[in-house]
């Protein structure tokens, strides 16, 4: 019997749905499951059946921010639907930062809107009831291969190792900084001079949060080919509970010192290294990558 998969949407933009639809092996993954209902793919039941509360559900995928009241589908509060199926499900996957922590849409009504089990980084009143089944996949959107990893682990009856925010450690153990093609510039504290250049690090001025954001974007590339930082866009920290912050394209500094240190790096260690690296002028890093002596 294939596990029955229900994808429910709350306050969402559908980004996670479309991200998952981009998975190159989508249908071989889905072949392990029976789709009860999905916002875009065919399922065994209609939306009306889902709203009636009567469809089966082994795996509940939640997309979108949660609000206790004020959001109705077919006359029923979405929150009630979510809880109905969260109670039925053996596994709950919160797909995306909105469903996990609240995300962008939380900012419309911060007191009432949050993630399902977490409100920013704090546990909600619902956490206790559902924590034992919960896997968090924050990201805005989440990467399709993060979802397929979780689904295939479930299909293979494997236990997923998770952290205290219920994120799979095998995915979120990395930082977005891991594997960025600009790492050498980070090591030697070379800022990029402007947008649109492949040389230079985006951490010092352009607001890149890669060094302190958990995610595997530069290891499991986006669309099998790239990532924000590889294409010159700073990481905006979209997997973190605090996403989105303000002034995303600028690094907050105190007298030129980044206000937020790379993950786990003590400030003194970072500053000592900075002092050392900034004392040396490495010729190769002052030139364009493709302009080396050929």
């Amino acid at each position: 019997m294939k596990p029955k998969l229900l994808w429910l949407q709350a306050i969402t933009c559908n980004g996670n749905t479309h991200s998952f639809l981009n998975h190159p092996d989508l249908f071989s993954i889905l072949s392990h499951f029976e789709i009860v209902h999905h916002p875009a793919l065919d399922g065994s039941y209609s939306m009306e059946d889902v709203i009636a509360g009567s469809v089966p559900c082994d795996i509940l995928i939640l997309e979108g921010s949660f609000v206790e009241e004020g959001f109705l589908k077919g006359g029923i509060e979405v929150s009630k639907l979510i809880k109905t199926y969260a109670n039925k499900a053996k596994h709950i996957i919160s797909a995306g930062t909105c469903a996990t922590f609240g995300g962008i849409f939380k900012q419309k009504d911060p007191d009432k809107i949050s993630g399902f089990c977490f409100d920013l980084g704090e546990k909600t009143s619902r956490y206790a009831s559902y924590a034992s089944k919960l896997v968090s996949l924050p990201g805005c959107p989440m990467h399709p291969k993060w979802m397929s990893y979780v689904l295939m682990m479930i299909a293979n009856n494997r236990v997923i190792e998770i952290d205290n925010l219920h994120r799979p450690v095998e995915l979120y153990g990395y930082t977005v900084h891991t594997g960025c093609t600009r790492n050498e510039y980070f090591e030697w504290k070379i800022d990029t001079k402007n947008f649109g250049l492949k040389e230079g690090c985006l951490f010092y001025e352009q607001g890149c949060q890669g060094p302190h954001t958990r995610g595997s974007c530069n290891k499991i590339l986006w669309n099998d080919v790239s990532s924000k930082t590889r294409s010159g866009t700073p990481c905006f920290g979209c997997t973190e509970p605090t996403f989105p912050q303000i002034s995303l394209y600028s690094t907050k500094t105190n007298m030129g010192i980044p206000a937020k240190m790379p993950l786990g790096i003590p400030r003194r260690a970072y500053l000592t290294l900075t002092g050392v690296t900034k004392s040396f002028k490495i010729k190769r890093f002052t030139e364009r990558l493709m302009d080396y002596d050929k």
Partner: protein, 197 residues
């Protein structure tokens, strides 16, 4: 006492002696044999600790930086205001200028004035990082708490250190009418007023 500890103590005494001699006779006139003689050790043995006078010079600057840096770290870790920390840092600096003038003098008269000695392995801020790091920590804390105005690091650093260095230079020239400790309050206040938010 273990051998490693003995060696560390010996190393430090070489540095202290060198500092004294540089301060009295000048950097260029002081030789390795002079230093070895003062310590009653053989020149060959001294070279076991520092393979050349230039290397010794570089190690001394690291040593003085770290010594100053450690004291400033203690201040950084106190739960007091930025204004009070400035006062304590100025106090440390001027007290050292008074009690161990050879250390501060070394920085002004040897390090800053003999760049060729330091330009190889002590490029930029490499050898003074012990001290610079603590000043960076101080500024970072004070700006993030909103006490000091956010500005370019070097503008603030230049103001703070240039001011202190200048005062110590004047002291060295015997120009100051009062003992240097007399100036701690005024100078701290001036620095705070210039940098505050």
């Amino acid at each position: 006492m273990k051998i490693a500890e003995k060696k560390a103590i010996k190393r430090e005494s070489i540095i202290q002696t060198a500092l004294q001699l540089f301060s009295v006779n000048g950097f260029h006139k002081t030789t390795i044999p002079d230093i070895a003689g003062k310590l009653q050790m053989s020149v060959g043995n001294l070279y076991n600790y520092f393979s050349s006078k230039d290397i010794l010079a570089q190690e001394i600057i690291k040593y003085t930086s770290e010594t100053l840096g450690k004291k400033i770290r203690v201040v950084n870790e106190l739960d007091v205001s930025a204004e009070q920390k400035i006062h304590k840092i100025v106090d440390i600096y001027f007290t050292m200028a008074k009690e161990k003038p050879e250390m501060i003098e070394y920085f002004l008269r040897v390090y800053l004035s003999n760049r060729e000695v330091f330009s190889g392995d002590c490029q930029g801020m490499v050898c003074v990082s012990g001290f610079i790091t603590e000043i960076m920590v101080f500024f970072d804390d004070a700006v993030s708490s909103g006490e000091l105005r956010n500005q370019d690091f070097f503008s603030a650093f230049g103001l703070f250190m240039g001011y202190l260095g200048g005062m110590v230079f004047l002291k060295g020239e015997d120009v100051l009418p009062q003992g240097i400790e007399f100036y701690i309050d005024d100078i701290s206040r001036n620095i705070y007023n210039a940098l505050k938010a």
